[in-house]
Amino acid sequence: MTTGSAELPVAATAHRPLAKKRGRPGDAVFHGLLLTALGIALAALAWLFISILSNGLGNLSWDFITSRPSSNPARAGFISALKGTLVLMFYTVLVAIPVGFAAALYLEKFASRTRDDLEAKLRRRERRIAERRAAGAGGPGMAFAQVRLAWSRVWVRVGPPVNHVLDVNISNLAAVPSIIYGLLGLALFVAIMGFSKSLLAGGLTLGVLVLPIIIISAREAVRAVPVSIEQGAMALGATRLQAVMRQVFPAALPGMLTGSILALSRAIGETAPLIVVGGVTYATREPSLNPLEADAQPLFAMPLQIYSWADRPQQAFLDLAATGIIVLIASLIVMNLLAIWLRNRYTRRW
């Protein structure tokens, strides 16, 4: 081997030897910068957790969770805020889930049809009516068919652009700042509909706030169900609607719920829209958990309690805010774990 290499000077010119591994300073620096960036992001997160835990752990106790708010920081607790949040979430779910799921099914399964599909449908309806007229049919059935035909004619033109607008609109709504939803809630539920600045108004506002997020995630869940399921049902004689409601919807449901829980975990921490709708109250009494009494309960929830503590100058209250944050983050983590569990438990790979 050594003798061989000594005799091969010419080979070296014919075939330049392979370059030795060398440091490339530019590449090393670049790699270092990228790692630094990621390091900063993770370090900031760690710093945040440490700072909140170190300020807030001292107050964390069962008493803190079960006590009412108080002007004495040593006695102040979180129970009113927790109950307020529960009532808020009830109304948020009540508004956002039915509307969000229905909208997702509609947009994904009925509105996404192309102009060609709609035209084919129109032709089918026209043919069918002509046949029935030829067969001498009449009466209310015929009138109903005429109405549907007229609707088809309009929808062929209007449908695709309307659906496009709906699409763009939803992604825009999801990016509207949450405080704007607060203004909407204040004007719509309090000023116009005349609710008091209550848990009801706040819950409805949060419902509207998370609606676009729920629609987007639910659409994804619906989209993940293979078309073959629907076609299989239709091949057995189900109508399209039956196929969607009895096959696609149940199959998509776990995914839809997972997305909804994640959306709710965003709603639970929302502060700004609640302040706009209800101001910052200093509730000392515990709100009733009865949803029917929600309009009589002042708007109060975990993030509002945290804000009112954090906004005070005394360190004792600032530390209480950190304790409240720990409880808030703990509930977020529980919700996220629930979502992950649901996804792993029920989501099928098609």
Partner: protein, 290 residues
């Protein structure tokens, strides 16, 4: 083993004088001389994670020849090709064992710069993969990376070598995605030539193309053989027979180590197709298998 490959290197210097003497009209009429080896592969195995993809490959690839790697899908021919320019390094969990000597040097030695290996051993991929840039920028990218000035003359030259110049000379600053599939693949070949490699590896370069584009690229390969060593993976046996000088036949083995590829035999293309020594080769070529 290392001395063995040194011999390969030694032969290559003699070859310097011999190659211009090889006047070849076309692949069929070409008379093969046992030229210097460019790649000497000994007992090459590849693992992806825990699964074995390919094992025990011993193969010599000679200079200024077109070597075709054929075999049924899953036989590891593409995997083997990717060993030859250390492309497998980029796949997490991939491990290459055995020895691959490139012109007398251990290509996988720990002190060898894999980036330099890939600069000198170019690659053309299964699906045309131009960058989302203009035609000119596609060529200039590799040249700049390798410190070659991307002058208009040089660009014209490589496009002519890739038989693409006449089709694109008026639209060098158009998006490369606007080209047809066959043109895109020739652009990718031009891109590979532009960095002045010593070897060109082609991984089923025509599988995504129509017959006319395929023909153009085969012609191009025969043309390029004069200057480069070409290794081509193909699932198209007619193509292997048409363009290659030597053929290596890979096959799939299934046993308690899993399903993996092995090299069944390698020889001149003529012998592989006329009188294969291995029964599996014969079955495959006559269409009884795969």
């Amino acid at each position: 083993m290392s001395s063995n490959s040194r011999i390969g290197g030694e032969v290559s210097q003699h070859a310097e004088n011999r190659i211009p003497a090889m006047e070849v009209e076309n692949a069929g009429a070409r008379e093969l001389v046992d030229g210097p080896t460019v790649f000497d592969c000994h007992d090459v195995s590849v693992q992806y994670g825990r699964s074995l993809a390919l094992t025990g490959v011993n193969l010599a690839i000679r200079r200024n020849e077109i070597t075709a790697l054929i075999g049924p899908s899953g036989c590891g021919k593409s995997t083997f090709l990717r060993c030859l320019n250390r492309m497998n390094d980029l796949i997490p969990g991939a491990r290459v064992s055995g020895d691959i000597w490139y012109a007398g040097e251990d290509m996988y030695a720990t002190d060898v710069d894999a980036v330099d290996v890939r600069r000198r051993i170019g690659m053309v991929f299964q699906k045309p993969n131009p960058f989302p840039k203009t035609i000119r920028e596609n060529l200039a990218f590799g040249m700049k990376v390798n410190g070659i000035k991307a002058s208009p003359d040089r660009i014209e030259e490589v496009l002519r070598r890739a038989a693409l110049w006449d089709e694109v000379k008026d639209k060098l600053d158009d998006d490369a995605f606007a080209l047809s599939g066959g043109q895109q693949q020739r652009l990718c070949i031009a891109r590979a030539i532009a960095v002045q490699p010593e070897v060109i590896l082609m991984d089923e370069p025509c599988s995504a193309l129509d017959p006319i584009s395929t023909l153009a690229i085969e012609e191009l390969m025969r043309d390029l053989r004069e200057q480069y060593t070409i290794v081509i993976v193909t699932h198209n046996m007619q193509q292997a027979a048409r363009v290659s000088d030597r053929t290596a036949f890979f096959t799939v083995v299934q046993d308690d180590r899993g399903r993996y590829g092995v090299l069944a035999e390698s020889d001149t293309t003529e012998r592989i197709f006329r009188a294969p020594a291995d029964k599996r080769t014969q079955d495959y070529i006559t269409g009884r298998f795969g």
